[in-house]
Symmetry: C2
């Protein structure tokens, strides 16, 4: 499970908690703090939990930074983390900082819940629909952005993408990773989600497999559609599938929730995500929602069909996004009917 659930000695309550820490992957320290916080909280959100009682922050400051850089960077990272925690309705009390060769940022999220506050991720039934709440391709975007300054790498992808497109995709990835999955967690209750997980280091298929394995019923998850940040599929192909993005195993950071919803609820879940998203000033605050597959009877595995449909998700603010404004529409793909 994404979080540890510990029954407590007190009146049917459970302690739910999770921890995560990693290395910076975007240049902007403030955004990196937000991403780290969103990534920690995401494990609670994956269980349909929308509240968090406390966060601890875990930091290691790089010994290789000079005093000036350290004083410039670390407060911004801490500020980003705290701001995201506040957006999540919680706060940071406690933590630990050490000196280390590399910067590390992470945290712990804890909440004490009644049983109705969380959704055990084991109730998928055949006929359910799979929804994903953020596009894939964050790791590809982050890497491609670094390659702009590495001619040898850039030459591999320059025929399929422009620098401007890579920069737009990088920004899209950064904002997407910093987006809290909290709205999706709330809607999991409203639309009676049967199970969910968040998509991170093992990629969509890895986490789908983990989730399938935990199900009480003999089910299989079949993925038909891959919503991907625009152009990242092309980059992945141009690199000889270096990232395995289309195979579903490209690592994501602070990815979306993969939610199993009753068939009759999935479209409503998606359209409410869309409405909240435009109301809240764009996809930034709440994420999107794409129907990506179905739950069948099976042996508790997940798979992606041959030749899945690639949904190119335009970066927010881009011309394409402004024209379409449709990234969050329920997808009426015949594959899923």
């Amino acid at each position: 499970m994404d979080s540890a659930v510990i029954p407590l000695r007190h009146g049917g309550l459970s302690l739910v908690q999770t921890t995560d820490f990693f290395y910076p992957l975007v240049e902007d320290p403030y955004m990196m703090g937000r991403i780290a916080c969103a990534n920690v909280l995401s494990d609670l959100y994956a269980m349909g939990i929308t509240e968090c009682d406390n966060m601890l922050m875990l930091l290691s400051v790089s010994q290789k930074m000079n005093e000036k850089d350290r004083e410039r960077v670390m407060p911004l990272m801490i500020r980003g983390f705290r701001d995201a925690a506040e957006e999540g309705g919680t706060s940071v009390t406690g933590g630990q900082t050490v000196i280390n060769p590399w910067i590390i940022v992470g945290g712990v999220a804890s909440v004490v819940c009644q049983p109705n506050e969380f959704i055990m991720p084991d109730g998928a039934v055949p006929g359910d629909v799979l929804v994903l709440t953020k596009p894939l391709g964050t790791r590809v975007a982050v890497n491609a952005y670094l390659w702009i300054d590495q001619p040898e790498k850039w030459n591999k992808i320059k025929l399929v993408v422009t620098k401007e497109e890579v920069i737009e995709a990088y920004h899209e990835a950064m904002f997407s990773m910093a987006t809290l999955n909290r709205t999706a967690a709330g809607l999991m209750h409203k639309y009676q989600a049967h199970a969910a997980t968040d998509v991170t280091g093992f990629g969509l298929l890895g986490h789908a497999n983990n989730l399938a394995r935990q199900q009480q019923n003999e089910v299989a998850f079949v993925i038909h559609n891959l919503p991907i940040i625009a152009k990242m599929a092309a980059i992945s192909k141009a690199c000889g599938n270096l990232f395995n993005l289309l195979q579903g195993t490209s690592a994501e950071t602070s990815g979306g929730l993969l939610v199993c919803l009753p068939r009759e609820q999935a479209a409503k879940f998606c359209s409410e995500m869309k409405n909240l998203s435009s109301g809240a000033g764009g996809q930034g605050a709440v994420g999107g929602a794409w129907i990506i597959g179905i739950v069948e009877k099976g042996d508790r595995h997940a798979r992606i069909i041959d030749k899945p449909r690639i949904i190119e998700v335009p970066p927010r603010g881009s011309q394409a996004a402004n024209q379409e404004n449709s990234s969050t529409s329920p997808d009426p793909s015949p594959n899923v009917s």
Copy 2:
């Protein structure tokens, strides 16, 4: 405070939690795991909390280790951590591991408590007695042990200590750091402790100052006695006070509790620690207890008197320890009367 105390939405309960992580400082990976766990739990124990609902483990595996060393070392460290958690009546569910240049080991301890389960560390009154539950000098012992193989450093201390004494002191430090402060935490309730903290990176005086600053009453902490692992005071002096051990600011790892007790209770606290200690097979399982000072009226600071009495604490198992077996006796020093 040593732990974060977060009031919960549920019936007067509080979430108390703390985190700590650091780098290995003893050679034995199993013992290092135990020390890391004892060090994390110690922040709960300092608040008189004897239970822990869950621990998370935080690990970074060194990229510089080869596969074989990694497979030899990391499972032992994890095992030590888990065993200490079990001794603390809790277990480890959850955590995170990353690859890093250096090994890091640490964790998170969380408990949901009723108000009577913890003791806010702010109730010291003039006339209270200060008790310390582990001897000082762990960092000196760990360093001196490394110097055995560094002739330039060893030459500085070889006139005051033998290699055997350093090895004994190192073992004493290792076992002392791995000792849980749980027994002391339990006795804090029985003997109505007014406040406590645990002694770690800022040394005895640093933590005494932090504790004094938090007091509701205008008090000062005056330290007369320094219980120190045998010979470590001599080493510190021979190094030109490199460690500031006698000044009270030598860092400790997983040190003892510094407890403010009502004068009439302090001796009983110490003798019960002594009894439990011998019953449990020696100081190993519960720590010791030394009266080290008093609480006076003052301006919320701590100080060590000029020429404090050094209590040489013989390593467990040493001849001196077997002869005396008195390290945990209440100290009738006239300084404290």
